[in-house]
């Protein structure tokens, strides 16, 4: 899938997509039909999202749970993309790894460690990191936005655009 997107980005169609996004007027004057190009982008994006949906259903085993597609999940995915870097494939992969790896690996292990410590001291567990999960994600997002607004591994293109908008 990553390869497919990579190939598309480098293809004639990919360049036409970027051209239409950058400067629709100039794109039209070189004969790119914005409607067709946008439609193709939309269709391919929807197909990829559909495939992802199939895979996610296969992994969670049901489509009946409304919480599986809740607001939190959408925001988490958006956060992963922003932290990693918009418009960059490795950036997105890194963002997802950090955010969901944090969720699945780091938080449970830290929690169990904290419970052990607190159990020795207070006899009850008072504080779990798990309940502060969303706050941590929020803080990470703020830190990234403040110090590296283009994401951890931005694409060259977005870096250029960012420079341009700053000027």
């Amino acid at each position: 899938m990553v390869l497919l997107v990579r190939v598309l980005e480098k293809s004639a169609l990919g360049r036409a997509w970027i051209a239409v996004r950058e400067e629709p007027l100039a794109a039209a004057t070189i004969g790119i039909s914005a409607t067709k190009v946008r439609l193709s982008a939309f269709t391919i994006a929807a197909a990829i999202a559909g495939l992802a949906g199939c895979l996610s259903v296969a992994s969670i085993g049901t489509t009946g749970d409304p919480n599986a597609f809740g607001f939190n999940r959408s925001v988490a995915i958006l956060c992963a993309v922003i932290i990693g870097g918009l418009g960059s494939i490795p950036g997105t992969l890194v963002g997802v790894t950090i955010l969901f790896g944090f969720d699945i690996v780091v938080i449970p292990s830290v929690d169990s460690w904290m419970q052990r410590i607190q159990g020795q001291v207070f006899d009850v567990s008072l504080f779990t990191l798990g309940s502060w999960r969303l706050a941590l994600v929020g803080i990470a997002l703020i830190v990234v936005m403040r110090f590296r607004p283009i994401g951890l591994i931005p694409s060259r293109r977005f870096a250029a655009e960012f420079q341009e908008s700053k000027q």
Partner: protein
């Protein structure tokens, strides 16, 4: 409006073909009721170059916009090679419009005949009565839905006789064969009622033993009438919705086609390229990519295939050649947004050339350039365009770029 024309004799130009490449006939362009261009007549022959000079800002850009389809003219016409720059009504358009119409019609019909109920009747009901799902059964159930025939459904161990859409339950039986028999009898009564008076069977004939209360048909006259009208109702709904949808779809796609007839894409495909005064390159693409994308579109234009095969080595070679010709080879891989204004203008011209156009419109190349840069631009244009490409250059005065042209046209101030 009067134009002053002065023609210079130049050596390189291809002279006097029968039809001028670009002919502008009584073109009027208005902006908010104020005429920017008033009844302009201009012929440009193939291979020649024209400088359009006007001190005002709006008129020149408006003229180029009108030629390349960004702005619509309020009257008059622009022809390239004797043909208007408008998309014709081709076979492709016809089939596209028809296809859209039929698609919208089918969607409307599906909504009108209640696609939910259709699904229920054709697929789900077959599953609950354990009927094998074969094309034959599917077709039978589909036909039966559009004939509004009664059907058998199961709910919690009971067999129910329901109308085709399953909204109305007419009778409930515990035994399947009994339910089937009753359903057939009821259907016979409904069909007879539909086919007309005179053949209405006496209901008691069908009931058989009148002492057995379960064997009653339970259909009074109003119910029978309602059921008999079901077939007509569903067919009327389906067809009327289909026809409405057809008209809607055809009308909408024709309207969209009409609006897109005179668009920049059409002009670009016909071979009109233009550059802008404020350089409109693709800022977040490198110089190389900027030109490559244009070269690719130029190849698309010349090929009739939907997705033509493009030789990669060829287009890269062509791109490099273009970059070299405008002298941007050192900036090849820097982003267009990092270029100076002069370089951006060069890039714009290279992009125009990359389309492999028949006519190139250049909007105020000298604007904002110093004398040296103006001379450099004039040199570039002279080298790459002269004698081969038809050129229309606009300018605010007699700058070096305007002076390379075969003739100049003054749009006199209003």
């Amino acid at each position: 409006m009067t134009h002053r024309e002065n023609t210079k004799v130049s050596e390189g130009a291809v002279l006097s073909p029968d039809i001028p490449l670009l002919s502008i006939d009584r073109l009027t362009v208005q902006s908010g009721g104020i005429p920017l261009i008033d009844e302009l007549e201009l012929d440009v022959s193939a291979g020649s170059s024209v400088a359009i000079i006007d001190s005002g800002r709006g008129s020149k850009a408006a003229l180029l916009d009108a030629i390349c389809g960004l702005r619509s003219a309020s009257s008059g016409s622009v022809r390239l090679d004797g043909r208007r720059l408008k998309q014709g009504f081709s076979a492709k358009t016809f089939w596209g419009v028809l296809f859209t119409g039929i698609l919208v019609g089918l969607l409307c019909a599906a909504a009108a005949v209640d696609i939910d109920r259709l699904w229920l009747a054709v697929v789900k009901r077959g599953l609950v009565v354990d009927e094998p799902f074969t094309p034959a059964n599917f077709g039978r159930r589909l036909r039966s839905y559009f004939r509004a025939e009664l059907a058998i459904d199961r709910l919690a161990g009971n067999w129910r006789i329901v109308t085709a859409d399953g909204r109305e339950v007419l009778a409930v039986r515990r035994d399947l064969s009994e339910a089937r028999e009753l359903r057939n009898q009821m259907q016979a009564a409904v069909t007879a009622r539909r086919t007309g008076p005179g053949v209405v069977p006496d209901i008691t004939d069908l009931v058989g033993d009148a002492n057995e209360p379960q064997r009653e048909l339970l259909l009074d006259e109003t119910t029978l009438d309602r059921l008999a009208a079901g077939k007509r109702r569903i067919r009327f709904r389906g067809w009327s919705a289909f026809i409405c949808g057809l008209f809607l779809g055809v009308g909408m796609s024709l309207a969209i086609w009409q609006r897109g007839r005179r668009s920049p894409e059409v002009a670009a495909r016909a071979g009109v390229a233009r550059t802008f005064r404020s350089p409109r390159n693709f800022p977040a693409m490198t110089v190389f990519e900027n030109i490559l994308v244009t070269v690719e579109q130029g190849i698309h234009r010349q090929s009739s295939a939907w997705w033509p095969h493009i030789n990669k080595a060829n287009r890269i070679e062509r791109t490099e050649e273009l970059i070299r010709s405008v002298g941007l080879i050192d900036q090849s891989f820097s982003f267009a947004s990092d270029l100076t204004r002069y370089e951006q203008r060069c890039l714009g011209i290279a992009r125009g050339l990359a389309m492999d156009p028949r006519i190139l419109l250049i909007d105020e190349p000298a604007d904002g350039m110093n004398t040296q840069q103006q001379h450099a631009l004039a040199g570039i244009l002279k080298d790459v365009c002269k004698g081969v490409l038809t050129l229309v250059v606009t300018s605010a005065g007699n700058d070096p770029v305007a002076l390379i042209c075969d003739r100049t046209v003054h749009l006199s101030p209003h």
